[in-house]
């Protein structure tokens, strides 16, 4: 049986080559660039979500304050 058709052989090759390629990809400047971009995007989304949530809380507090004023409880 030809060695090229041996499944185990290809597993060994994949085992040796795979990590090397992954390491190369991880260390590539492009990868880093995308990762940083992705993280920054994520951080911005978190900050925007927090801001939007705070806006909602503020508006709710203002409505609540108006209601209290109207009811004369403040």
């Amino acid at each position: 049986m030809s060695v090229w058709k041996n499944e185990k052989f290809w597993c060994v090759v994949a085992g040796v080559v795979g990590p090397t390629i992954i390491k190369k990809i991880l260390k590539a400047p492009k990868t880093r660039e995308y990762a940083v971009k992705g993280l920054a995007e994520g951080m911005k989304i978190t900050a925007d979500a927090k801001a939007a949530f705070q806006d909602m809380k503020d508006e709710a507090a203002d409505i609540c304050n108006d209601a209290k004023n109207q009811a004369g409880t403040k």
Binding site: A47, A51, D55, D58, E59
Partner: protein, 693 residues
């Protein structure tokens, strides 16, 4: 700062500068800058959306907008967050954590596959089990063991829903407890810090009272007998014996003269000094206050310790209940229900929360209580003992009359007395000096060095003759000055109920000065209120004459009085009453009251008390109103009632849950839910203010 106004109504305006307008670190600075503007009443600052909410006095809208427009965030001075901001932060953190906990619990069910959730739950459950085993390993059969057993049993039964509910509720309870303690501690610190002393600063030769925070390095601060030195510095003028026990542990007072260093927190026992400020130690005082609060939690009320012992004591019975239920019903589900419900965590949580909330409430009402056990003692006391001068009476006695004997005139006696007495900041001495001034009598220094005999009187030499002035005990008994019958009769007739100060020169009685000390306006009402709130016996101790004491006792409705008591003997009367089985509250203000204050079950120092009395006392009033004592009595009684009511509710409610579990009416998870919800409810209720009597 650029912003848009998102809300604008009279007295309330909200600015929004956007998400990146300023950082979180700037929040306290902006908050401080805002609240320090005179017309701004409240500020809320959020860095998340760059929001600033201001509540302001009507009519200042334009000024408020201008203020925010000119706010230069980057250049605001760094500052410690103020209390209001700290409290807002604590509230926000609590709400966020609670929201996070609830969201995690319910969102996890939607998004995380069941096997992963189960694995995570088992992992978290094992932490509780490990904690329980730890306690068991240390030989303690505590609430942690019970929690661990209940969670462990639920997991073993594959009842993951129950286990998850118990853990969730336990975490919420613990979050609530931490929040309550942190909030109470912060508020209490603030209430106490407001009191941080005012000091006397010598400016251009005149003593001016200023706030502690306004004292600068290089200022000259005057410190008198019985007062605490508020700053680190060097003695610039005068000399004094300083008790440095708080610094060195040495109880013997140290003689400090010009050029010597003195330290904040030490107390002037005798003498008067002017200190040149080297370091302003506002922080030292605050530090002491925080230590006091931390210690307050250790100074647990015995009802609190009893509750905790009881809570742990119940745990074995829960296990016995579990065993018996299993034995009789052969139903593990019913047996686990017994483990799910216990009395202990509710008792253990609600009691300290009640106590610490009451401490905060007392502080908000201008009363500093140094620990839960003093509130408990205050509620249980049946006897109150007052020092008379300065406590029951106004701190400003008045010179009523001068009775001369021998050849000297009234004016001459008063001149000599004022001349000797003016060196000492005692209330009686001040009355004599003021009396002389009111009568237009000038007095020049005619005497040699004066010697002050604490709480007795003064001895000096005048024109080569020994002159003594002070109480009858000091002048007649100690100094052996003879007072014949006719003189005594005259004194008794003319002095009436006034206190009498004797002046003797050259071994003969030269004259007496009659000083009246009218009771405080609210004293009688305060005593009546105390009686209404369960005080059975009201007593008064004084160094004054029998007559003066009798008159005051009659006026105020006091049951027992002890007159002509020597300062060193005051505590004996307190101890005697305690030996008779009474629980005694002692109220005093002077340096000489300190031993009696220490001897009582619980002691109270008035707002204008000496620092030594304030240090010794368990409770310090920050107003001069004696009715605060009745208010404190009401507060402490209500606290005890609340603890007892909580206790009754916890026992009744959880017993019914146990019974429902035993008869299979409630499933273990429902029992756990109701039990933990009731625990949280009782903790939340314990945080509410005790109602004003």
């Amino acid at each position: 700062m650029n912003f848009k106004i998102t809300y604008d109504k009279p007295g309330r305006i909200r600015f929004r500068a956007g998400a990146y307008a300023f950082e979180r670190v700037h929040e306290p600075r902006i908050h401080k800058a805002c609240v320090s503007v005179p017309y701004v009443q409240k500020a809320v600052v959020h860095s998340e959306n760059g929001g600033i909410l201001l509540e302001y006095e009507d009519g200042y809208r334009e000024q408020v907008i201008d203020f925010v427009r000119n706010l230069d965030v980057a250049n605001l001075p760094e500052s410690e967050p103020d209390t209001e901001y700290q409290l807002q932060e604590l509230d926000t953190q609590f709400k966020n954590r609670l929201a996070f906990m609830i969201a995690r619990r319910y969102l996890a069910k939607l998004f995380i596959p069941a096997p992963i959730r189960t694995a995570h739950l088992i992992y978290r459950g094992l932490k509780f089990v490990a904690k329980g085993l730890n306690c068991l390993g240390e030989g303690k059969l505590s609430v942690e063991v019970l929690d661990g057993a209940a969670i462990g049993a639920s997991i073993l039964q594959r009842n993951y829903e129950s286990a998850g509910t118990i853990m969730f509720l336990l975490n919420v309870s613990s979050l609530l407890e931490d929040y309550t303690k942190a909030r109470t501690r912060t508020a209490l610190t603030a209430s106490l810090a407001v009191k941080v002393d005012r000091v006397w600063v010598v400016k251009d030769g005149v003593d001016v009272q200023v706030r502690m925070q306004d004292v600068q390095v290089g200022d000259l601060v005057r410190v008198r007998s019985g007062s605490m030195i508020p700053v680190d510095g060097t003695v610039a003028e005068g000399d004094a014996f300083v008790n440095e026990a708080t610094m060195t542990g040495e109880s013997q007072a140290v003689h400090k003269t010009v050029g010597k260093s003195v330290f904040a927190g030490t107390v002037v026992d005798e003498g008067s000094i002017v200190v040149s400020v080297r370091a302003v130690s506002g922080n030292t005082k605050i530090q002491k206050i925080i230590e006091l609060i931390d210690r307050s939690e250790d100074l647990k009320a015995s009802i609190q310790s009893r509750a905790e012992r009881l809570a742990d004591g119940i745990v074995p019975f829960s296990f016995i209940g579990f065993g018996l239920t299993l034995l009789f019903t052969r139903n593990i589900t019913k047996a686990v229900s017994i483990l799910m419900v216990d009395y202990s965590c509710a008792i253990k949580l609600s009691t300290p929360i009640s106590v610490i909330s009451a401490l905060r409430e007392a502080a908000d009402r201008n009363m500093t209580v140094k620990g839960g056990k003093y509130l408990e003692e205050f509620a249980l006391a049946d006897t109150i003992v007052f020092d008379k001068t300065g406590t029951l009476t106004k701190a400003e006695p008045k010179l009523e009359r001068v009775i001369p004997f021998g050849n000297r005139s009234e004016e001459e006696i008063l001149r000599i007395a004022a001349c000797i007495e003016e060196h000492f900041p005692h209330s009686m001495a001040r009355a004599i000096v003021r009396g002389a001034a009111e009568r237009g009598i000038d007095h020049e220094e005619e005497h040699a060095d004066v010697k002050y005999i604490v709480a007795h009187g003064i001895a000096t030499t005048l024109g080569g003759e020994r002159a003594v002035i002070g109480s009858k005990h000091f002048v007649v008994e100690d100094e052996k000055i003879a007072v014949d019958e006719a003189e005594q009769k005259k004194i008794d007739e003319l002095a009436g109920a006034a206190s009498v100060i004797y002046l003797a020169i050259g071994g003969n009685l030269a004259g007496v000065l009659c000083i009246s000390d009218p009771p405080r306006d609210e004293a009688a009402e305060a005593i009546r209120m105390l009686r209404e709130r369960g005080i059975k016996h009201v007593a008064m101790i004084t160094g004054d004459s029998q007559k003066a004491a009798e008159r005051t006792a009659q006026l105020l409705g006091i049951d027992t009085f002890f007159a002509q008591v020597l300062p060193e003997d005051k505590h004996r009367y307190v101890e005697k009453m305690k030996a008779e089985g009474r629980r005694v509250i002692m109220v005093g203000d002077g340096i000489n009251d300190a031993p009696a204050l220490a001897a009582a079950n619980v002691s109270v120092a008035m707002s204008d008390a000496s620092d030594i009395a304030r240090e010794t006392a368990d409770v310090t009033l920050r107003s001069e109103d004696l009715r605060d004592l009745a208010e404190l009595r009401a507060l402490s009684t209500q606290l005890m009632e609340r603890i007892q009511a909580n206790y009754r509710f916890i026992v009744a409610f959880n017993t019914s849950l146990l019974a429902a579990g035993f008869f299979g009416i409630l499933a273990p998870s429902t029992s756990a839910l109701l039990h933990n919800l009731s625990t949280m409810a009782i903790c939340a209720k314990s945080m509410t203010p005790l109602k004003r009597a």
